[in-house]
């Protein structure tokens, strides 16, 4: 059996109230008020497509052995680098090793479904598993419908033969140069055409052309589809398409617009992870991806669908939320306003690429060292073992620490230093099993940090070098609540 073996999801914690967007913008467009229900997910200042992809990938790896991943495709229309393979950054942050096939797939809202079909059609990789990560951080104009309805998020899928939860039954693609929206070479924001035309000439024609062929090919009746995934920021369109196809209304997977908004090309995969969480063995699942035509993929849930659950998953990612009412901060985080940074924000943040490459194991992989002589764990790893009783030279083996929980030893909330979201929280973190590091914290809510609080590690943006169009990444600590086991010292 071959198909989906693992999945994971990530939705930024911060959820901006749509009423806050409407309050700021309905002086210009009163119709926004009609869309002002619920909230949308928004990236923190230190999150982007790459960092969310790493989060979703980590969640997926809770069901998948990193050593078995021979392929990693990253799908997105909002990749931070146009020329620097983004999927390689993700693979190294996930510590997938140095020998795998990586690729960025972009330029359409069906980037992720097309990448998934490519993986599924390629069959089993040499190492056994393939991964797709879809991630989107779409920016939009102030006061636009898109700003109201879109959200940020990422999802990941594992594909292979070991532990299949959804068997691959087939796929189909219909292509047509239907330009419902576009973003040209020199633009940072999308341009969209009329909503009703997109519905009537786009979704309602294009999706059935692909879906009917696939149903025929697979010998499946539309009425037997138990879960139909179609992402759209038009709330009623997925149901209209389902009705036209003969798929039941109950099968339409909720687009979750009130809870998070539509996360672009990542949304079909996010919705698929959502469907996996309530699918029963034997259920037929149809995934559709719309954009210059339509991709459709058919799966059948296996007996393992109920047991194989990732650490967080879609429901967990939706639930982990922090309400936000600050529209100005959202604009600031998305570079939609020119913001005062203060004198301290002026410091040159040049990335020295040669040094960055030399330190990539630490910076991207969060790899420390473990001394062969005395067992001491240390990060960063240096030439001499830090244990003064040992002090051995060149004695440390690589020791990945991104999955190791830690506890706060010392901390502060710094209002003097520059931070895109002050105060800057940082402190000394002690890791379970040894090792300690003075590091940044992120996603800290006031009062959630104290000495002894458990933290987990997260790949985030460390700094922007706006002068040279670069961004640096590193790992940060986030309070993980008190659910983790007591920290033990030593091995």
């Amino acid at each position: 059996m071959f198909g989906i073996t693992a999945y994971g999801a990530y939705i930024p914690r911060s959820r901006l109230s749509r009423a806050a967007i409407a309050d700021a913008n309905d002086w210009f467009d009163a119709s926004l008020r009609g869309l002002a229900k619920g909230e949308r997910s928004i990236c923190n200042w230190d999150e982007d497509t790459i960092t969310m992809a790493v989060e979703a990938g980590q969640d997926c790896l809770s069901l998948l052995d990193a050593g078995s991943v021979g392929t990693l495709y990253l799908a997105s229309t909002t990749l931070p680098f146009l020329d620097r393979q983004n999927s390689v950054v993700v693979s190294q942050a996930l510590n997938l090793g140095d020998h795998l096939r990586t690729m960025d797939v972009s330029a359409s809202q069906r980037a992720a479904t097309s990448a998934l079909i490519a993986i599924l059609e390629a069959g089993n990789s040499e190492k056994g598993a393939a991964m797709l990560v879809a991630s989107e951080h779409r920016r939009s104009k102030c006061g636009s419908r898109a700003e109201m309805l879109w959200g940020d998020g990422a999802a990941a899928l594992g594909v292979g033969s070991d532990g299949v939860i959804a068997e691959y039954l087939g796929s189909e693609t219909y292509v047509t140069d239907f330009v419902d929206h576009y973003r040209g070479e020199d633009s940072t924001l999308d341009y969209e055409w009329e909503e009703r035309w997109i519905r009537d000439e786009g979704y309602l024609k294009s999706v059935p052309l692909a879906a009917s062929r696939l149903l025929d090919k697979a010998g499946v009746k539309a009425a037997d589809i138990a879960h139909f995934v179609l992402a759209s920021d038009q709330a009623k369109t997925p149901s209209a398409v389902a009705k036209k196809l003969g798929i039941t209304a109950e099968a339409v997977v909720d687009n979750r617009i009130p809870a998070m908004g539509i996360a672009g090309s990542a949304h079909p995969i996010l919705l698929l992870t959502s469907a996996f969480e309530f699918a029963k063995p034997g259920d037929l699942i149809m995934l559709a991806g719309f954009g210059q035509g339509t991709d459709v993929v058919l799966f059948k849930a296996t007996d393992q669908i109920t047991d194989r659950r990732p650490e967080t998953g879609f429901a967990g990612a939706i639930e982990r939320r922090r309400p936000d009412e600050n529209y100005n901060r959202f604009l600031s985080f998305n570079n939609l306003v020119e913001r005062e940074t203060g004198k301290r924000g002026e410091l040159d943040k040049q990335s020295y690429l040669a040094a960055m490459y030399r330190k990539k194991d630490l910076l991207t992989g969060f790899i420390g060292g473990k001394c062969r002589e005395c067992g001491t764990v240390q990060i960063p790893r240096e030439n001499y073992c830090v244990n003064p009783e040992c002090g051995a030279l060149d004695s440390q083996d690589d020791y990945p620490m991104s999955a190791i929980p830690g506890r706060v030893k010392t901390w502060t909330a710094d209002r003097l230093t520059f931070d895109w979201n002050p105060p800057a929280y940082f402190g000394l973190v002690e890791f379970e099993g040894g090792g300690r590091l003075m590091m940044d914290f992120t996603e800290v809510e006031e009062g959630s940090i104290e000495t002894g609080v458990a933290v987990s590690m997260h790949f985030r943006i460390r700094q922007f070098d706006n002068q040279r169009g670069f961004r640096k990444y590193f790992w940060k600590a986030t309070p993980s609540g008190q659910e983790r086991a007591q920290l033990t010292t030593g091995d």
Binding site: L347, T410, W411, T412, A413, D414
Partner: protein
Amino acid sequence: MASGIKDKVVILGMGCSKFGERWDASPADLMVEAFEECIADAGIEKKDIEMGWFGAGIDAYNVGSSALPLSLALRLSNIPVTKVENMCATGTEAFRGAVYAVASGACDIALALGVEKLKDVGYGGLPQRTRGVENDMFWPNLSAPGSFAQLASGYRAKHGIDKSELKRAMAHVSVKSHANGAKNPKAHLRREITEEQAINAPYIAEPIGLYDCCGVSDGSACAIVTTPEIARRLGKTDLVSVKALQLAVSNGDEASFSDWDGSYLKTTRIAAQRAYNEAGIKKPREEISMTEVHDCFSITELVTMEDLQLSDEGQAVRDVLNGDFDADGRIPCQIDGGLKCFGHPIGASGLRMIYENYLQFQGRAGDRQLSNARLALNHNLGGFPHQNICSISIIGRYE
């Protein structure tokens, strides 16, 4: 076995500029101001100075690199001058160079001068600067208050001290230094404050508020040192000598390995013990008459009282609130106002502390004169609690 520095070198003269926001003074102006006082006090001529040590902490932002700025500003006669930089210990490091040169016999008379021109850079607080190509990629953007504020979290956790109680003791530290600074005409901040003001001031880095932070100042201080024999030959009486000069530098233990809990300064404990040994001090609480410690932030001064063995561990809050380190307390601390109010021109600070010792021993400290001071301990701390440089000098009457 090495015999140490005790009583091998004496101070021939000292000088210190007015500290503060010296908008109209260049680094050279500040150096000359300190130097002119110093050389007049020493009673020698410029040509008698054989070697110089020059300290400036953040050279890229003020005086420029190398020893040239000192030699040029003072028009020294092509003597050997060495530039030293060791973060906030820079001033004491310049002094150590000059003292060691005299003690070694390499020269008879040496100059140490420290200067910092911080108010040309446009920052409130210390300028934000690079920590090196590699460190900048993963270190937090910790400001000075942000790094030292963490001492409070570690101290609270270790000793189970209530946040508001610790904050009150921190406020007492600052109120005391403001009271002392008000009596010092060369101090940067000369206004008394109340405990309430200190507690209610806006946060800079939790739990450090505005009044928990020291002044960021322009200033310069300098010393001319020689041997006791030469000083006597030059007609000096009431000699002040160097009893100990110690430095302890972190090796990554606190930051990467040990069970250090963030509540104290490991290097201070090491340097203090070494200094007591070098000076032959067995009972610091009875023998030390005054301290000038690195009160960059009130919490630093508080934990330093324990690190110097002047308070029992966990008892500094009680002792501070008890007034033990006030001007009329058991061991007065920062009688000149400290970094807090005299100010903190980084490269000058260590020398400024010794300047105050020297004035006190010679009965020249004006309104803030202590009675019968005979042994002083000075302490500088450069860097961050988890990774730092600690220098300690002990200065006393030459008896």
